[in-house]
């Protein structure tokens, strides 16, 4: 057995691309896509275009960062879209209807940001608890809230669209700092912190160890259960933030629509970004690039008059191609 491994792994060592090159592949695709647009898309080079694209991609990136970490442990989180809906439904209830007994005031605004995010995090922790404590397969465990979560959001709002005007949320949705949209700053900060956590902290290393070989991690004394619960909680927290951004942009909250299909967009971004769905690896920057590719692809198709429906097919083709490339690279 070990014999077999050595003989094959020697040549394989030469075939495996170093990590920057793997990332380089994703970056190259993004570059080509940009180049194509520079040449073929009219009015592509404008701040307007940049901000449209960035604004649309922010929520995907934020959720996909959490998803990358969950996937690195060998899990998956299907509940992210529903958790966005819960957080999105909760915020207007707090600042507009005084759900927590405080009327429109700075305190209510602060609670309207904090409480939904914390609630989403707790739901995420619940996912993690199911996975860690009862060893339920992550796809099944998070399916629970995927289904129930949106229901909870709809019950909270009676299924009604909640339109609102709130200055604090207006800033989050449409404000700019140094000319750059606020949510883009937020996204950049989250990507930066997550990259640092995965690369430099104890938690990041333990995350990868659990995903890379759970039995080995257990025998090395790692608190596997706690690590997993935390990672789902982080995913929930990031979903909560993404939910707030969505309602802030729209100045309204619709429990039926907030975060709909987000889980698949996020998983797609992770896959295109080069993080193996089998766990043990996490490339946050790859995920960022993956999300940008998917977004830019959709923009390119739309700006060339190809309908959104067809764009979905192209999106699927890109995911398939990305996963295929990974498979080829990993084959012995």
């Amino acid at each position: 057995m070990p014999e077999l491994e050595i003989v094959t792994s020697r040549p394989r060592a030469r075939w495996t691309l170093p990590r920057w090159q793997t990332l380089g592949g994703t970056a190259l695709s993004l570059g080509l896509l940009l180049l194509f647009n520079l040449v073929a898309t009219p009015h592509f080079v404008s701040l307007q275009t940049l901000y449209v694209n960035l604004t649309q991609v922010t929520t995907i990136v934020i959720v996909a960062v959490g998803m990358t970490m969950v996937i690195a442990t060998g899990g998956i989180d299907l509940s992210v879209g529903s958790l966005m809906a819960i957080s999105g439904a909760l915020a207007p209830l707090i600042f507009a209807r005084g759900l927590l007994g405080v009327g429109p005031a700075p305190l209510a605004d602060a609670l309207a940001f904090l409480v939904p995010v914390l609630v989403a995090m707790l739901f995420g922790a619940f996912n993690g608890w199911l996975v860690a404590r009862f060893r339920i397969q992550p796809i099944v465990a998070t399916l629970v809230l995927f289904i129930a979560g949106r229901g909870i959001a709809q019950v909270m709002t009676n299924g009604n669209l909640q339109a609102f005007h709130n200055d604090a949320f207006h800033v989050l949705g449409l404000g700019r700092v140094l000319g750059v949209p606020v949510q883009v700053w937020l996204m950049a900060a989250i990507v930066g912190v997550a990259t640092w956590v995965v690369g430099r902290t104890l938690y990041g290393r333990q995350l990868l160890a659990v995903g890379g070989n759970e039995a080995a991690a257990r025998l090395a004394g790692l608190p596997v259960g706690r690590i997993k619960i935390l990672v789902y909680a982080v995913s929930g927290l990031l979903s909560g933030i993404a939910g707030l951004i969505v309602i802030a942009i729209n100045s309204s909250s619709d429990a039926n629509l907030v975060g709909l299909g987000m889980e698949l967009d996020a998983i797609a971004a992770v896959a295109v970004g080069g993080t193996a769905l089998t766990g043990g690896r996490a490339s946050i920057v790859g995920t960022l690039l993956g999300a940008l590719i998917i977004q830019l692809l959709r923009y390119t198709l739309l700006s060339h008059g190809i309908p959104d429906a067809a764009a979905l097919v192209v999106k699927a083709a890109v995911i398939l191609a990305a996963v295929y490339v990974q498979q080829v690279r990993r084959a012995p």
Binding site: I6, R10, R200, R205
Partner: protein
């Protein structure tokens, strides 16, 4: 030799992106001959076998099978051509029945449907030839490795194989099962079927092989009748060293005295953990290597896991340094100064995609952090020191651990515990599947560590390792401690008798009882 030659491979060369794995390899097998193929890790045995079985294409060289030149392009072609390969990790379908596995793809049919009755009776018949009597309707996965191997062999024979290649078939078998496998090999031989037998265990080669081919650095360096070559010469040929050097390597000689009764590190009594551990008594002193012997399924690994806090004990006591402990989990055991290297490096040891550096410090890492952030300078210093101390051969500590050889992976796993400065190390088959040189190094290292005061509990299936590498040997049988020997009493015969039959006369009291 004569026209009895079944297979001849000559001048085989194979390179992987410019690196030669095989340079000038050759090999012949006669009908009814059992050929031992040996060599260190990386010598090219596996590559040669893959070339033979069509898993790899050769760059140069001639392969003749039954007199005609052949070039199999896929393992399937080789199988159809009469060459069957039995891997240690069996490539059958564990959830399907034994009979289905034997006839997979060639099920006997009747009116277009599978003729289950005929399939079951034929399968039972085939297996009966090897003295294997099992319910062939049960899923294959329920049976032990030995039975699964027999099923693989039966499948090969039913496909009219004329040559059977066995790649380390015995590494997960216990002695009884090995004996059974050897009987099967002898019966293959009697039918004129050629066998290529790859193994790291020299004793086995002498038991069953007619001739031996030794490979080193991609070349065939020796080809002799088994009877005409001694063990030491074999080792020398594999290592490319002179006989004197091999002797100096310490193939024998463990004349260290049992350390003057130092503090009792570990004391286990009446340990029970159903279903495998019934009643185990053990003790280990500081600076002592205690061997834990027993057949597969005797509860050795399970005992180790309970001591390490990975599984729960239902009864009995464990004392560490005199104080009774009840570990709630592995983390508690580690805090108490224990370390445990699992027998299965691949599934329970390494994190394959992580760097050597992170793998080595996996258990230590919490102590290397400041506010949750890893102190990389300190990590690097510790890793570098251990790599040097243990002689781990690698390109860079940032290399992924899966790219290392088995022996070096094992050293990294040892280092994972050593950097915690443990008091007691539990090693489960620390030298399994590792080439001769690395094995000697690891054994030497374990001794050195013990000399420095570390207590070692070593599970091993190799009698030589137990008789020569341990201060004391404790024997388990069906989950019970049945005997304990001092170094002087621990003969291979005594240990085997205890493993097979239980306590021996004169009755030896349990260690620590």
């Amino acid at each position: 030799m004569t026209d009895d030659i079944l297979l001849s491979m000559t001048g085989i060369a194979k390179s992987f992106s410019g690196v030669a794995a095989l340079k000038e390899a050759s090999l012949t097998v006669a009908r009814g001959e059992v050929l031992a193929l040996i060599g260190q890790n990386g010598a090219g045995k596996s590559t040669l076998i893959k070339v033979l079985t069509g898993a790899l294409m050769r760059d140069r060289g001639i392969v003749r099978f039954e007199g005609a030149p052949v070039a199999f392009r896929t393992p399937h072609e080789a199988q159809a051509g009469g060459i069957a390969t039995i891997y240690q990790e069996i490539n059958l379908v564990p959830l399907r029945s034994v009979a289905e596995n034997i006839f997979l793809g060639r099920e006997p049919r009747r009116w277009g449907l599978i003729d289950w009755r005929r399939m079951h009776s034929q399968a039972a018949e085939l297996l009966a030839q090897f003295d294997v009597h099992v319910d062939v309707r049960q899923p294959l996965g329920q049976f032990n490795t030995a039975t699964q191997q027999m099923v693989a062999i039966a499948r090969a024979l039913d496909q009219q194989a004329r040559l059977v290649v066995m790649d380390e078939p015995t590494s997960s078998l216990d002695d009884r099962e090995v004996a059974l496998l050897f009987d099967v090999i002898r019966s293959l031989k009697a039918r004129g079927i050629g066998v290529i037998f790859v193994s790291h265990r020299l004793d086995e080669l002498y038991a069953v092989c007619d001739r031996v081919t030794v490979m080193r650095d991609g070349m065939t360096v020796a080809d002799q009748p088994m009877a005409s070559i001694g063990k030491l010469e074999l080792v020398a040929a594999m290592l490319g060293r002179s006989l004197e050097e091999v002797r100096a390597f310490g193939a024998t000689g463990f004349d260290e005295d049992v350390p003057a009764r130092a503090a009792k590190l570990l004391e286990v009594s009446g340990l029970r953990s159903a279903p495998r551990v019934a009643s185990v008594d053990l003790d280990v002193h500081a600076g002592e290597i205690v061997g834990l012997a027993g057949l597969l399924g005797s509860g050795r690994t399970e005992t180790a896991r309970v001591i390490f806090g990975a599984d729960r004990a239902q009864a009995g006591t464990i004392r560490i340094g005199g104080d009774e402990v009840r570990f709630a989990g592995v983390a508690d055991a580690i805090r108490a100064g224990l370390g445990f290297c699992s027998e299965d490096r691949k599934t329970e040891g390494i994190v394959p995609d992580m760097s050597v550096r992170d793998n080595l410090t996996l258990a230590l890492m919490p102590q290397l952090t400041r506010h949750g952030v890893i102190d990389q300078a300190r990590q690097r210093a510790i890793v570098d020191r251990l790599i040097q101390r243990l002689g781990i051969r690698l390109a860079s500590p940032d290399q992924k651990i899966r790219e290392l050889s088995g022996g070096n992976q094992q050293k990294v796993l040892l280092a994972r515990w050593l950097c915690l400065a443990p008091k007691l190390l539990i090693l489960d088959e620390p030298t399994r599947g590792i080439d001769v040189a690395a094995k000697a190094e690891i054994q030497g290292l374990i001794r050195e560590l013990a000399r420095d005061g570390l207590g070692v509990l070593m599970i091993s299936s190799e009698l030589e390792e137990l008789t020569e590498g341990c201060h004391r040997v404790s024997v388990l049988r069906d989950g019970r401690s049945v005997a304990a020997f001092d170094h002087a009493q621990a003969s291979e015969h005594a240990i085997m008798t205890a493993m097979a039959h239980g306590p021996v006369e004169p009755a030896v009291s349990h260690a620590g009882a």
